[in-house]
């Protein structure tokens, strides 16, 4: 089932073309890593798909009304905004807002989703802590849990693992992979190509004003693409421990 | 008074304006203040129109080359001080707080203008008319003076004295008010005075005067004799206050008729 279809999407910001001609279909079961150098437009692409920035072309998410869209796709922005000192549990429960009729309290089912999201991110012990007093990495996990609690077929996350320690980076990638295995889809922008190579089912390489490559990690992380787009060379191998990718040097 | 009579007199206060106009010789008074031609405040608008109008500012007063300036005790200190530094004689008058003050002010103004006789005559005539009005009364109905912002005046004010002279007792005294002060509206309602006297409302709406339209005041006003007094008869200690006393006499008769 196609959960997101982008057709010929293009965005200009302040008269500068960020990207153009982006078309892609995201199917249920996929964990898509959105990769590309700084400024390639990864964030803008996801925001355009969600209708948060004006774009030409078409995104299937915009066929929904805003309220229905919120039940179809969850979005975790890169900015880790937590404006008020609310508890971790209350913050994660905000993910249920699109599912609650106005003025209704959390039902048992809503609470179950909140508990599951807290468990998935290993936050059960912190549920009553004040979110604003947590460390940056902990806050990032709370915000991922919030997006998980929204319980949508499609999850889009902007650099979700930036700032996490290695154990939590891997755990988060495994949670996303697990969602994909359960028949959902996840799109996450990533800078750690090693983690992307190991956990994603598919990579979208953004650069040069559009999509440079789209496919399984092995097909996208070719020496040629890496040199052209990232200006690095790398060591990439399938090992008994799974695919291992390690960038080596900058190409002058 | 050894000084020769001043020849160019400028008054910069509403009350000294009126006293001077009553007593000055022809041509002696050069200028009066702008309030003297305001019909709401001044009882002598017609006479005042014959003089140069000043706005109580030192510069314009000085330009009139006066040899005597008349000011109120509460006239701008800066203006009065500057005129004195410029070597001009400034005489200040305290606001009248009783009927006796009025006679004294007339005599002093006469003396300052070198017209002692005229001053004494005016004072005597005032006392005479006053004692004719100060009828002996067997019962003093209670009246309240109620102005914008809920302000009331007690016995130690000119208005309070006018009220007493006209044969009323003052509600403010009950509240322990002798000077001028705000009396809370609910206190006024509880005292339930027999007559209500308020100031003339000015043109142009204000919030300050809205209290006089409050339903509680409205009800008081409708249920008992009430009067609007013309400010010009009350503000200054001049023989004009006799008009106010006369006006209140009518109100008092109405208040007493109510019981009969």
């Amino acid at each position: 089932m196609t959960l997101l279809a982008l057709d010929d999407l293009a965005v200009d910001l302040r008269g500068r073309a960020i990207f153009a001609g982006v078309s892609a279909r995201i199917e249920a079961g996929e964990f898509v890593g959105l990769i590309g150098p700084n400024g390639a437009g990864k964030t803008t692409l996801m925001r355009a798909a969600l209708g948060l920035v004006a774009a030409r072309g078409h995104s299937s998410l915009l066929d929904h009304r805003a309220v229905d869209r919120a039940r179809h796709a969850a979005w975790m922005p890169q900015a880790r905004d937590i404006a008020w000192p609310v508890s971790v549990e209350a913050l994660v429960a905000l993910g249920r807002v699109p599912h609650l009729p106005t003025g209704r309290r959390l039902s048992a089912e809503d609470q179950a989703h909140v508990d599951a999201a807290l468990a998935a991110m290993g936050l059960e012990g912190m549920r009553h802590r004040t979110a604003t007093r947590l460390s940056g990495g902990e806050q990032a996990r709370v915000l991922i849990a919030r997006a998980l609690a929204q319980d949508t077929p499609l999850l889009m996350a902007d650099e979700p693992i930036a700032g996490l320690d290695p154990a939590h980076q891997i755990a988060t990638m495994q949670v996303f992979a697990g969602l994909a295995r359960d028949g959902r889809a996840v799109i996450a922008s990533l800078h750690d190509l090693g983690l992307a190579a190991r956990h994603c089912t598919r990579l979208l390489l953004l650069g040069e004003g559009g999509i440079v490559a789209d496919g399984p990690p092995g097909d996208v992380l070719t020496p040629d693409n890496l040199a052209r787009v990232f200006h690095v060379n790398a060591w990439f191998a399938d090992t008994p421990h799974g695919p291992v990718f390690q960038p080596l040097e900058v190409i002058e | 008074m050894a000084d020769p009579a001043p020849r160019r007199v400028v008054s910069m206060n509403l009350c000294t304006d009126q006293l001077a106009m009553l007593l000055a010789a022809k041509g002696q008074l050069v200028s009066v203040s702008d309030l003297a031609v305001d019909p709401r405040a001044s009882a002598m608008v017609e006479q005042a129109r014959g003089y140069t109008i000043n706005h109580a500012r030192a510069e314009e007063v000085h330009a009139l080359r006066p040899d005597l300036v008349l000011a109120g005790q509460y006239s701008s200190r800066a203006s009065v001080g500057m005129l004195r530094r410029l070597g001009i004689r400034v005489e200040t008058f305290a606001p009248a707080r009783s009927m006796d003050d009025i006679g004294a002010a007339l005599e002093r103004m006469g003396a300052l203008l070198g017209r002692e006789e005229a001053g004494k005559r005016a004072a005597a005539r005032f006392e005479e008319r006053l004692s004719a009005l100060r009828a002996e009364v067997e019962r003093r109905p209670e009246a309240a003076l109620y102005y914008a912002n809920g302000y009331t005046l007690g016995d130690k004010t000119l208005a309070g004295q006018i009220l007493l002279t006209a044969g009323f007792s003052n509600t403010a005294a009950k509240a322990g008010i002798t000077g001028g002060r705000v009396m809370p509206l609910e206190q006024l309602v509880m005292y339930a005075p027999e007559a209500l006297i308020s100031g003339t409302s000015y043109s142009g709406e204000t919030r300050s005067e809205a209290i006089l339209d409050h339903p509680a005041v409205e009800l008081l006003r409708r249920s008992r004799p009430s009067a609007e007094v013309r400010d010009r008869d009350w503000i200054c200690g001049t023989p004009q206050v006799l008009r106010a006393v006369e006006g209140l006499g009518d109100l008092r008769r109405k208040a007493l008729e109510g019981e009969g």
Partner: protein
């Protein structure tokens, strides 16, 4: 949570009754309440029904409005310094009211007063939101507030000074500090319709304000229509602040102090804070108006003097706390 709301409601009710029973006229509690409910002859029913009841009602309505609008603006701008008085909304509402009174518009048509104050408040709040941007930083908020307050105060003074009425100039204090003295049922009737509209607009914003805790993008992706929400917030705030200011002048700091005190008690959730601040605002204004009557009954101490004495130090404390985000 329920306990917080119950405590606020009980406090509010107790202060309301106290407001009815305290005043310069010595009326016994039982006698007063009987006069209030049963009416009858004599001055006591007049005092209770025409003087104290409207005053107490207005204290509740205005407190509710100021507490609610403070919590709503803070939730939207995600800044604890946002308060209608501080950011110039009350000041511009006062300007609208003063213009209505001194042009005779309010005399020609009673609702001219609150509607003119609404127009002033609308201009003020729209200007603040436009200047402060979607996420109001403390610096822009405070600067915008200073500019708008100064402008509104200057124009208000100008209108009052131009008036030919000698009382007008002295009213600047009332419009800057606010007072509930000598208000009547007529003022209740003038303010209530507009306030009800404003309450109905602001109270349902809770859900969207909750979502905004996570930032604009996240809130928009959760189905919150931000443009519509901003419009509702602006108009709702202008309605309640405009109506409150039209009848009682600009009473500052209520919308700052109340949400600040109550935020920890409701788990900092903006939606709960809306309701709690509404009740808390009523409590604060009732208490301040009682204090005004108890401390200096005959001096007509302005309500805003008391709220500022409580609020200004807290404001300084909040600036101190958020100074890191200031350059």
């Amino acid at each position: 949570m329920i306990r917080v709301f119950a405590a606020l409601a009980i406090l509010c009710a107790a202060l309301f009754i106290a407001a009815l029973l305290v005043g310069p006229a010595q009326i016994g509690a039982i006698e007063g309440l009987r006069a209030l409910i049963l009416g009858g002859e004599g001055p006591a029913p007049l005092v209770m029904q025409e003087i104290r009841l409207p005053r107490a009602l207005l204290a509740v309505m205005i407190g509710l409005s100021l507490g609610l609008s403070g919590a709503a603006m803070q939730g939207y701008l995600r800044n604890p310094l946002a308060e209608p008085g501080l950011i110039g909304v009350s000041g511009s509402a006062a300007l609208g009211a003063v213009v209505a009174i001194h042009t005779g518009f309010s005399a020609a048509w009673a609702y001219g007063l609150p509607l003119s104050a609404l127009a002033g408040a609308l201009a003020g709040v729209a200007l603040v939101i436009a200047l402060a941007g979607p996420r109001g930083s403390s610096l822009t908020l405070i600067l915008a507030g200073i500019a708008i307050s100064a402008m509104a105060a200057a124009l208000t003074s100008l209108v009052l000074n131009l008036s030919s009425n000698p009382f007008a100039a002295n009213e600047i204090v009332f419009w800057m500090m606010g007072s509930l003295a000598d208000r009547s049922m007529m003022h209740v009737g003038l303010a209530l319709p507009l306030m009800v509209v404003g309450w109905a607009m602001l109270l349902p914003l809770g859900r969207g304000l909750d979502a905004l805790t996570l930032g604009e993008d996240a809130a928009a992706s959760m189905g919150v229509r931000l443009t519509r929400m901003r419009l509702v917030l602006v108009v709702g705030t202008a309605c309640v602040v405009g109506a409150a200011t039209a009848v009682a002048g600009a009473i500052g700091f209520v919308g700052l102090v109340v949400p600040h005190i109550l935020r920890p008690l409701v788990g900092a959730r903006p939606s709960r804070l809306l309701w709690a601040s509404a009740l808390g605002g009523a409590v604060m204004v009732l208490a301040a108006d009682l204090a005004v009557r108890l401390i200096l009954p005959e001096r007509d101490l302005k309500l805003g003097v008391l709220t500022a004495l409580v609020g200004a130090p807290l404001f300084l404390h909040l600036i101190y706390k958020t100074r890191r985000e200031l350059p």
